[in-house]
């Protein structure tokens, strides 16, 4: 049965190869090839899942060795896949949500002439992501890691004719590369520490290594996770990544790829457990990001960017949970899965809205859409309820557990982390309600003549390029788009309860991640109550601001914090000034140095040699008498030398 593992990856990889090399003649059927192969991968995943369920909990992990990849002396990298409960969870999430989004894209990208290529990239992404979660060693994981980065690059920049998209794609890849440096250094450190970088031997030998080294490895892994999962300080690419087509945002930048960092941390749990300092850093990063993302999400008027802020924030929750150690691993993954459902659903809903609104993304030009898009409204609304943690829905179960676990960390840290998580829950309620109200309720602002929005100047070309200035005619999306939304809405509603009740998910993952109960200073019921109260506060404030009052079509200037949040809390400005400008100056001066100094030394010596020979050339004037002088002078010198030698 485990021989099927390779097929999981092979199916979408084949799709990518066929679609990208196939040329124009596949244009007509390309999207179906892609979708079918994604679905095939899902089916294989389900088969393997069924097989796994049939085994005892401790014997569920299987490996498949394909071939020796890089054999050099002590450095042995193999292409080996490992399917255990953790990767199984991911496989199902990736292929499941992935297949749905393939289906959705068939409708969404219908009018794009490069649809075949889009599906090729999507399939490539699936293959790379599956490789990431199925790899049995860190180096192979690295391949998938960069592979998803590539797919993300290609998909963000899918509309390459837009300079903003191309720039965003490049930015995403570069920021991710910074994270990748962390991963490669981590692998190198593992190699010098353990002599290997396969999961089992490394994680099994943690006891033998010094804590300093382990902390270093863990911090480097965290850097990698920050890059991929858009955590502070490497979060800046995620907002720009929304330049990509919306299904991409749903699949890659919400449900799957961005959670790879969480996967990495949970997968390396044993390592982090042995490096408490690093764990503390992980929790801090998670807490900071969850607030950061939430604040940014509160200020954005672009629906996708607001959701992107939300994604950042939710992943912050997961990273926070993952940093808590065995108390939180399972909950991190659980939140990851439920988040995968509802965030994908939300993005697909946003895509559906844009689809009906001529690709308008500014929420200030939405309003009152619930009448025109009932299915979208309902599915989006269910996703909304799930994400804010409405009792009974998915988000409630997973997020609540994380907040509890944060308190269970104990000590001052526990209070701070728990407090941050609670505050985040309130903020989540606020910004999601804001999105909901601005989009589906209130007056129909899109009827007004669209005017330039000063707050989000970069969204303007998008609307101009693809659509017209004509007044949009909101309409419900075709069934091929709504079906995935409905399926995901089901997931958003029931997944949490299914996993949470009776700790089913916890027991499923326990053999891989281990679990221990923390001793929380506050009872679970108190936390839940506090969460609910804060939730209500958030929703209430949002309602007062956006539900009761009409939403201005042009964003008001806002407070300092709002303006900063609109600009991603000035992180881009910082990057621009320090890294981009500084880098430009550095390269420019280096080019100058290369030309004048490095080359100049050589050219200068050549020139001085040339000058010297030019001088010497004048001695060679062609007059026999001049030559005679030199001969005579030479003779004199010879005599002088002879005399000198005699004298000495």
């Amino acid at each position: 049965m485990e021989n099927l593992i390779a097929l999981l990856i092979a199916a979408p990889l084949l799709g990518a190869a066929v679609l990208l090399c196939g040329g124009r003649r596949l244009d007509a059927v390309g999207h179906w090839i892609g979708t079918v192969l994604a679905a095939a991968s899902f089916v294989i995943g389900v088969l393997l899942f069924a097989d796994m369920l049939g085994k005892a909990a401790d014997h569920r992990a299987v490996t498949q060795h394909l071939f020796s990849w890089i054999p050099v002396a002590g450095f042995q990298a193999d292409v080996t896949f490992r399917l255990d409960q953790l990767s199984m969870t991911f496989v199902l999430l990736i292929t499941g949500v992935g297949s749905l989004i393939h289906l959705y894209s068939v409708g969404y990208m219908e009018h794009d002439e490069r649809r075949r290529r889009f599906f090729g990239y999507l399939n490539l992404f699936l293959a790379a992501m599956l490789l990431l979660v199925l790899a049995d060693n860190y180096l192979l994981l690295y391949v998938g890691w960069e592979g998803v980065g590539l797919a993300s690059y290609l998909l963000i920049g899918f509309w390459q004719h837009k300079p903003s998209a191309a720039t965003a794609a490049k930015k995403a890849f570069l920021v991710n590369r910074v994270g990748d440096v962390g991963l490669s250094i981590a692998i190198m450190l593992m190699f010098t520490t353990f002599g290997t970088f396969a999961f089992t031997p490394v994680l099994g030998a943690v006891d033998g290594a010094s804590e300093g080294k382990l902390t270093a490895i863990a911090l480097m892994l965290l850097l990698a996770a920050c890059g991929k999962s858009a955590q502070v300080p490497l979060q800046s690419w995620l907002g720009d990544a929304m330049e990509g087509p919306t299904p991409v945002s749903a699949l890659i930048h919400a449900a799957t790829m961005v959670t790879a960092g969480v996967y990495l941390i949970v997968r390396s749990g044993a390592l982090f457990d042995a490096a408490p300092d690093a764990q503390l850093v992980v929790t801090v990063v998670g807490a900071v990001t969850l607030l950061f993302g939430a604040i940014v999400g509160c200020a954005k008027d672009d629906i996708k960017k607001a959701l992107a802020g939300s994604t950042m924030s939710q992943i912050g929750y997961m990273v926070l949970a993952a940093g808590l150690g065995p108390i939180g691993y399972a909950f991190a993954i659980m939140h990851l899965v439920t988040h995968g459902f509802f965030k994908a659903g939300l993005f697909l809903g946003a895509g559906s809205v844009m689809h009906g609104m001529n690709d308008e993304v500014d929420m200030r030009r939405y309003g009152g859409l619930r009448k025109y898009m009932p299915v979208t409204f309902v599915t989006f609304g269910l996703g909304y309820l799930a994400i804010i943690g409405f009792p009974g829905l998915s988000g409630f179960f997973s997020k609540d557990k994380i907040i509890e676990a944060a308190f269970a960390k104990g000590g001052t840290e526990g209070w701070i982390l728990g407090g941050a998580a609670l505050l985040g829950a309130a903020l989540t309620a606020y910004y999601m309600t804001r999105v909901m109200l601005m989009t589906f309720f209130g007056e129909e602002r899109w009827r007004a003549r669209p005017t330039a929005s000063p707050a989000e100047p970069d969204v303007e070309p998008a609307a101009e390029e693809r659509g017209t200035h004509a007044e949009p005619h909101p309409h419900e999306s075709p069934w091929i788009m709504t079906i995935p939304m409905i399926v995901l809405a089901f997931g958003s509603v029931f997944a949490g309860a299914f996993f949470g009740v009776g700790n089913r998910f916890l027991h499923w993952l326990e053999p891989v991640t281990g679990h221990e109960e923390g001793n929380s200073p506050v009872s679970a019921a108190t936390v839940t109550a506090a969460t609910l109260v804060l939730l209500l506060v958030g929703v209430g404030i949002a309602y007062l601001q956006y539900g009761r009052r009409p939403v201005p079509a042009v964003a008001p200037r806002g407070s300092l914090l709002t303006r900063a949040a609109r600009r991603d809390l000035l992180q881009d400005d910082f990057n621009h000034v320090v890294l981009v400008r500084g880098g430009e100056h550095l390269t420019r001066s280096l080019v100058y140095v290369d030309h004048t100094l490095v080359d100049g030394v050589v050219n200068g010596s050549a020139a001085s040699m040339g000058g010297l020979s030019g001088r010497l050339r004048r001695l060679q004037n062609g007059y026999a008498r001049s030559y005679a002088v030199s001969m005579f002078g030479g003779a004199a010198v010879l005599i002088a030398l002879t005399l000198l030698m005699r004298a000495v």
Partner: protein, 99 residues
């Protein structure tokens, strides 16, 4: 008087001749200066012959004279043919050694 003085005289004449070669442009005078140098050498040889009490020095001087004669014959022929082609006896006019 010490016969070494003949050597000093020879050295002086040789130097004057050499300087003349360097200074004069007229090929004929130049040749004369060369003759002067050769004669200075001959004087030295003759003096050495006396100094060592054998005739080998004189033999060398004799050969020098013969060679000088041959040299003058060829050299003057060269000057004449040069003058024919260039209408000048200046050695500077034959500065073809430069590219």
């Amino acid at each position: 008087m010490n016969p070494v003085n003949y050597l000093y005289l020879a050295a002086l004449l040789f130097t004057i001749g050499a300087t003349g070669v360097l200074i004069r442009r007229n090929a004929i005078v130049l040749f004369m200066c060369i003759e002067l140098m050769l004669n200075a050498c001959n004087l030295a040889f003759v003096t050495f012959s006396r100094m060592h009490g054998n005739l080998d020095g004189q033999i060398i001087a004799f050969f020098t004279m013969v060679v000088a004669a041959a040299e003058v014959v060829v050299g003057l022929a060269i000057i004449v043919s040069l003058f024919r082609s260039r209408h000048s006896a200046s050695v500077d006019d034959a500065s073809l050694m430069k590219l």
